[in-house]
Symmetry: C2
Subunit: 259 residues, 2 copies
């Protein structure tokens, strides 16, 4: 969606290690915003984005208009069931249908051999993988790691909305994920114990309101009541810091016992 | 869906005039049948189909299993809104979502430059055209004309269900379409007058029950109360002859006055 930061640029550079021709798409997609969300005020800077995308190795920058992507009379949407109704989908019921639809359109237009997405949107990556598998898209999906500010805050175009106080308090989000990592590596297996510890940390900051904290299987996104050796655990959260909705996550690979 | 007849074979031959490599797909698609419909008893003859498809010019015949197309945990569907809720969609509410989903999958698997469908399923052709346009599929869609038995009955794999008496009475369907053609070429412009005449003809056969008769714009499928010079009119119907549900249609191009 543009307003590029180092997280986006890391994905273009990741693409460059797998392809010799790179198409970057920048499109603030109205179909993935609810009417009460920030589509109109979502930050945009096409001039700066063009320079940054080119510097990171973009061969073609595709910045269509809303009218090009959704001409009058547009009627077609792609729905991935179940895994779009939990986590982000619970708070943003039409969000993923907008994401899958625009991604399918962009894949048909660009016909890439490799498509790159960011781990910051963990559920989005899982939903797109599922769509691509179910609909037999012939492409390889790569998911690049989260890029963070020096104090741990995950890079996001929405971070510019934060006031100085909110910006300071926002570091608690990654702090709570590190706490989950610490608990799990110390042998904690109860999802409820981990989320309670995270919840306590986050709500200690006056500007933070939690939408969800989830301990789930990283592949299926199913909630894990009990963590089992060998699990890949996606610990993810969404919280509003003041009026700014932020998401973050870590994946924790729990070693098999005795291996 | 196989059980090939001359209608299907005409589409393979049409493909052969546009391509030098032809993939024919045969798949009785459970996603386009409602639970109360004839998925289980839909006629199948893969041996004969293989010989017929090859004789018509097929390069590769793709006959996947249900498990290959919809493996356990399958979750993704494509929805074209509005034009799937009328006509056939009113009587078969989940039908077109099954059609668009399987067609998108087959297009991703085969990656054709040209895709051929039959005019017999007029609404299906319009829905697929709309999906392909909306989702930016890079392909050319051809729609081949209806092939009829010598007495006018549109060829259909379901015709084998008809008893001899029903088979005789079924010719009234094309008869009613010819009557619509005659009325329109004689200057009739009121959709209600045309459908009333068709309704009277069809219900004169004791085994016939009408699901719908439609006078619509051939492009948008919007019902036409009044036919205007220059219109392309899709006259379509569905009726049950005994227990056998049949569909048929004609497209009538109404000349512009004074041209």
């Amino acid at each position: 969606m543009g307003y590029l930061h180092d997280g986006h640029l890391s994905l273009i550079r990741l693409a460059a290690t797998h392809a010799d021709f790179i198409i970057t798409t920048i499109f603030v997609n109205p179909a993935q915003f609810a009417p009460d969300e920030d589509f109109e005020k979502y930050p945009r800077d096409p001039g700066k984005d063009t320079a940054l995308a080119e510097s990171a190795g973009t061969s073609i920058l595709f910045m269509p208009s809303v009218e090009e992507m959704y001409p009058p009379g547009y009627l077609t949407y792609i729905e991935v069931e179940k895994i779009t109704q939990i986590l982000e989908g619970k708070f943003r019921p039409t969000h993923f249908r907008g994401v899958t639809t625009v991604v399918a359109k962009l894949l048909h237009l660009a016909k890439p051999h490799v498509a790159v997405f960011g781990q910051k949107d963990a559920q989005q990556a899982a939903v797109i993988r599922k769509m691509a598998k179910d609909l037999n898209f012939d492409l390889h999906i790569l998911v690049g790691p989260i890029v963070r500010e020096s104090d741990g805050l995950a890079m996001s175009s929405r971070n510019i909305y934060l006031s100085p106080k909110q910006r300071t308090e926002s570091t608690v989000l990654y702090g709570s994920l590190k706490e989950a990592e610490r608990l799990i590596s110390n042998g904690e297996v109860a999802g409820s114990v981990i989320t309670a510890a995270m919840r306590m940390l986050i709500t200690s900051r006056s500007s933070a309101k939690i939408d969800y904290i989830s301990i789930a299987d990283a592949g299926t996104l199913e909630e894990l009541k009990t963590i089992t050796p060998g699990d890949s655990v996606l610990v993810s959260l969404a919280a509003r810091i003041g009026g700014v909705r932020l998401i973050d996550n870590v994946i924790i690979h729990v070693p098999r016992t005795g291996v």
